[in-house]
């Protein structure tokens, strides 16, 4: 593999195995472990490969412990992988070359990098010095970030006096002062209220659009991923289950669509005919008052809808994909073997 310039990030067969100490509960076991520590190897990332093109925004989906954060940490140079090859912007991340570090940033929703006791603006100033941002540019960028994120009131407060949402806004601003070309965002909106989540999300969208930055994002909030990412990577137990667009994920993993039909209240009674019209009793989820809810195989959707429209007095029809969270659940339930069998990107 060579760092072909048309990919911003290349990952080949990345593996990272942690060695963790392990012991039974209780004092006796604790004493034994003093003498001889038993360890166990935990594969956090078990051989994943993918490419990210410059300017792409890719969402990383997976349950807790799937290996998302570990992958991001390898990509940002914090961790040495157990095996595999990785390049980001043509650099090997864990060699931590200055040229690479200056062009990337890592934002973690659960950690803060701003110094706790001093005003935000002093932390920014520290970053200015570390990244050697020229004074004029620095002033301009701070001004812009302050306007976009409405930080004016916050800059002079010590970080410990900020609310979680305010702190996150400052974290994001501080991490983008050096105008990075690659963003690694690890649950940037965790714990924030819906409004603040949207603010952060919109800001990230704005930043990436303006700078063309390549972005890898993990989040447990599907709203983040739906709003920002055209492409998603689904990983589970350290393995890549899916790589493709969000819509494709739904088609692949959810073989059903939901049809909701509202009947005209004045229309004729339909009770006896319903099952025949639907096609299979299994597809009928509920029939209450004037509303029918069906769960129909994808391939049958059109036929069933046409049949119902032709034979019933219909007030309204909704055909929808299942909620994305539900699909994600299905993906994880399917497991790696199943997913790989289907794999044909």
């Amino acid at each position: 593999m060579s760092g072909t310039p048309e990919q911003a990030i290349q990952v080949r067969e990345l593996r990272k195995t942690y060695v963790v100490p392990e012991r039974e509960g209780g004092l006796a076991a604790a004493a034994r472990s003093l003498v001889r520590r038993r360890t166990r190897e935990v594969p956090a990332v078990a051989g994943i490969s993918f490419d990210v093109a410059p300017g792409e925004i890719v969402g990383f989906l997976g349950p807790n412990g799937a290996g998302k954060t570990t992958t991001l940490k390898v990509l940002s140079g914090l961790l040495h992988p157990t095996s595999g090859e990785v390049t980001a912007l043509g650099h090997v991340p864990w060699q931590r070359e200055t040229a690479f570090l200056r062009r990337m940033t890592l934002i973690m929703g659960q950690r803060n990098q701003l110094a706790w006791d001093i005003p935000v603006v002093d932390s920014f100033d520290l970053n200015r010095a570390i990244y050697q941002i020229p004074a004029a540019e620095y002033r301009e960028r701070v001004k812009e970030l302050v306007e976009l994120l409405e930080l004016e009131e916050l800059l002079r407060k010590p970080v410990r006096n900020l609310s979680l949402g305010e702190r996150m806004k400052c974290e994001v601003a501080g991490s983008l002062l050096h105008r990075p070309d690659v963003l690694f965002l690890d649950e940037p909106t965790i714990g924030l209220d819906v409004t603040m989540q949207r603010r952060i999300r919109n800001f990230i969208a704005h930043y990436t659009e303006r700078t063309g930055a390549t972005t890898l994002l993990t989040s447990h909030y599907m709203a983040d991923v739906e709003a920002l990412c055209r492409r998603v990577l689904v990983i589970h137990h350290g393995q890549l289950l899916y790589d493709g667009d969000l819509a494709g994920l739904v088609t692949r993993f959810s073989p059903h669509k939901t049809i909701v039909i509202d009947l005209e209240p004045s229309g004729p009674a339909v009770d006896g005919r319903i099952e025949a019209l639907v096609g299979s009793p299994d597809w009928l989820v509920s029939h209450a008052e004037d509303r029918l809810t069906l769960r129909v195989p994808r391939s049958e959707t059109a036929a069933v809808t046409t049949r119902l429209l032709a034979n019933l007095q219909v007030a309204d029809v909704i055909v929808e994909e299942p909620p994305i969270d539900e699909v994600i659940d299905l993906v994880f339930a399917a497991g790696p073997a199943d997913a790989q069998a289907k794999d044909a990107r």
Binding site: T69, T70, K73, L78, A129, Y131
Partner: protein
């Protein structure tokens, strides 16, 4: 970088002005006890293991000066480093485009501890005045060189200890051990029994940071010791850097 750290440390410290008074009080008491100890010894005798009173005052001065330097930046930064390894907050230091070793080494500054540095320096000047014409330019130069080497050795030693955190994760007490060994440096290592002298020279190299520079100042330093001190400093700096890099490879962060 160090300057920035000092600036931030100052900003931090100024919020807690009472600390300054406490620190000043504490340092003065420490100074009083040290000088009192010397006074007691020299009321019985006029030399201790070949050392005279003004020489021992210089020794206390160096003890406070080097101890102050450690307390101002090295020790707090090393504590921060170990905490960073345990809690995973080191992550952000490692993503910065600057030498990570430099960043962690000046990460935290406790500015009020400069009091000790100032008092130590004052004592050294006082001792130099008492020593009078025995102090020559060469000796002052040798003193400066050996003290720099000594500080480099102590710094490297502490960095190596702290770097162990990458494997052992939790070992805050390790710096306390160093601290108590350092306390032994307030007397010339020559007065201790051989085993302790050897320990203070080669295991916990306090001797190079305190006794050796004072020997240089009062003109009893052998050239071999000067060269040895410099070579040891270089060796320690290289070894600690190598060990630090090895430690970084083992960094796993706290999983989140």
């Amino acid at each position: 970088m160090l300057w920035l750290s000092f600036r931030l440390g100052a900003l931090n410290a100024i919020q807690y002005r009472a600390d300054f008074m406490v620190q000043l009080f504490q340092s003065l008491i420490g100074l009083g006890i040290a000088l009192g100890g010397i006074a007691v010894v020299f009321s019985q005798t006029d030399q201790l293991g070949g050392w005279r009173q003004e020489e021992l005052i210089a020794l206390i001065g160096v003890f406070m000066l080097v101890g102050g330097l450690i307390a101002v930046v090295i020790r707090p930064s090393m504590e921060q480093l170990m905490e960073g390894v345990r809690l995973g907050t080191l992550d952000f230091t490692l993503t910065k485009p600057a030498d990570a070793q430099v960043l962690v080494s000046v990460k935290r500054v406790e500015i009020w501890r400069l009091v000790e540095v100032v008092l130590g320096a004052a004592l050294i000047v006082l001792a130099m005045v008492q020593l009078g014409e025995r102090v020559s330019l060469e000796r002052v130069a040798a003193f400066a060189v050996t003290m720099l080497a000594g500080v480099a050795i102590v710094y490297s030693f502490l960095l190596i200890l702290s770097t162990l955190a990458f494997w052992l994760v939790r070992l805050e007490n390790i710096l306390v051990i160093f601290h108590s060994m350092y306390e032994a440096g307030r007397w010339p290592v020559g007065i201790y029994p051989p085993w302790l002298r050897a320990t203070l020279t080669f295991v916990v190299p306090v001797a190079f940071a305190i006794t050796v520079p004072v020997e240089a100042l009062v003109g009893r330093l052998e050239p071999a010791t000067l060269v040895g001190s410099l070579l040891l400093a270089v060796a320690f700096l290289i070894a600690s850097r190598w060990f630090w890099r090895l430690g970084l490879r083992h960094y796993t962060g706290a999983s989140a």
